[in-house]
Symmetry: C2
Subunit: 328 residues, 2 copies
């Protein structure tokens, strides 16, 4: 089986590569070729029994997608996108990369299939940003697409394209609306949502962290490990049960910031919690307070998708995967 | 005020032109220029006090939209599209005309605004085809976009683009999901939905008509007159009340085929009804039985949109507008 990861150099892409190296197969079929694709050169991996290609390619450039599709991967993970704040600040760039790049990919797959039968599994990472206020506490599986950002609009459009290309038989696609990833490893970044991970990650590392929003704010989380598990699961399962509706709200943990802090206290003690400094930032609050607070995710659970069931578990996963299983 | 109709040569486009000729203004502002645009040469009209241009232009060709936007219309009615069956049979053509054409238009408006402030009202005709089964008897205002055709996918994507371009301030847009037009004037055509008008129009003209579906089938209707009234209303009202959700389900009449036939009998007698011959066609039934049966349309009513309230009224509108007010 030939597996391709587009967006392989990102955080999720790298973790997905590592997982495939461990598992060496997808849905019982051995991986014989792994193609890692990104706009920046992806870091190679060793996967026993498989050829591994590292490809530097910008999907939004004419011809790039055709060359990828010509290698006829059986499974394509399409994770590549610019982030929400970048797409909002740079209108043309957002549409070029997040919409046109994806459309070029789907078109290249369709045209590849005109020469010889070809219908790859395409696993696309979508976002909670396809939803916009007003939102219920628990968003049902089939909720109106009403994004309030250009990024969310681009993701919603790609979902619609994925569904139509799947319905027409050009590819076999599934779009996963990932929960906000917590605890995101690495350095603090400028994303408005950065504090959701920062208030766990930094105290666990003995570093101070700023909390810019009230403790009552509720949001929807899953670990990087769960996100990668969902991608791998989506690559392997029979999608017939999805019917024409190819987008899935993934399971996750609905937690307030207060719940996060309580969990941190249980896992790492008062000393960790004392490293959190409250410093309200109305600009950050304005952005994140409009985001979803929770999902029902019935369809995903029926299809076998799972996630952590508590913030404590999410923190323990971070300690296991990023801190070698122990707190210093 | 400069008004432009793109898709002016179609049935709704021609009726809209005629209405503007009668009204000579939009929202109280006199029309000083009327631009009629279509891929086939539009038929000119005389509008007192206004310059009328007839422009033959294919929106899906590079540069065409820029030239239209350069004339800086205050109101743009964008009605141009290929129909559902054509978009399903011709995948590339559908995306090129129904999606790219619309995107080119929105982009041309945005770029025109970069040279000098410009934010036209854009009234876009969308479709019930943005919705797909399973559907409730009465579809609420905010129902999931889950089209089951390429045409519906293209319309849903254009709605999302319209909302994002509006939110960003590049244009002031509204998308109207028109009910199925009944009674559509003219000759019978090959559209799967053709019989919904045919079983009224042909008997009123003393001609036989074939009914290919059971009388229990329910659907959602408005007259051509109501559709034109909705377009004109949408051009004039304040859209602030819409917020970010720029797509509107228009009011209409939910009626079964049996209701249609009963109304025909009340308006035109048993002789007209006797001209309907039942000839079941499972292929037609498969298509039309998946379509919406009714809408709640609360938002549209609050915004002042209206339609007929009975099939009898829809038939009388046809007699007034197409048959000079009398039956022969």
């Amino acid at each position: 089986m030939h597996v391709m990861i587009i967006g392989a150099a990102g955080m999720i892409g790298r973790k997905l590569s590592d997982r495939l190296v461990q598992e060496r197969s997808v849905g019982g079929a051995a991986i014989t070729q792994l193609s890692l694709v990104d706009v920046v050169p992806p870091v190679g991996v060793d996967l026993a029994g498989a050829a591994v290609d590292c490809i530097t390619s910008d999907l939004s450039q004419a011809g790039a997608a055709a060359s990828l599709a010509a290698s006829r991967p059986d499974v394509i993970f399409h994770l590549a996108a610019i982030v929400s704040s970048d797409a909002e600040a740079n209108f043309e760039k957002g549409y070029r990369i997040n919409l046109e790049g994806t459309r070029f990919l789907f078109e290249a797959i369709r045209l590849e299939g005109e020469t010889r039968a070809y219908r790859p599994r395409v696993v696309f990472t979508s976002s909670l940003a396809v939803f916009g206020q007003p939102l219920p506490d628990e968003i049902p599986d089939d909720f109106v697409l009403a994004p309030l950002s250009s990024y969310g609009t681009q993701k919603a459009i790609c979902e619609l394209l994925l569904a139509d290309y799947s319905r027409r038989g050009f590819l076999d696609g599934i779009a996963l609306r990932l929960p906000t990833i917590c605890v995101r490893p690495g350095k603090p970044n400028k994303a408005a949502s950065g504090f959701y991970s920062g208030i766990i990650r930094e105290p666990l590392a003995g570093q101070p962290s700023v909390l810019p929003v009230p403790r009552t704010l509720r949001h929807w989380f899953a670990s990087p490990r769960s996100a990668v598990s969902a991608l791998v699961h989506a690559a392997a399962i029979d999608l017939k049960a999805l019917g024409a509706r190819r987008s899935i709200n993934l399971p996750g943990v609905s937690a307030t910031v207060g719940d996060q802090i309580d969990a941190l206290r249980r896992v790492a003690g008062d000393g960790a919690v004392d490293l959190i400094r409250e410093e309200p930032d109305p600009a950050v609050f304005d952005i994140v307070s409009s985001w979803p607070r929770g999902f029902i995710a019935t369809r995903a659970k029926e299809l076998g998708f799972a996630a952590e069931t508590s913030m404590d578990e999410i923190i323990r996963v971070h300690i296991e995967d990023e801190l070698s299983g122990t707190l210093n």
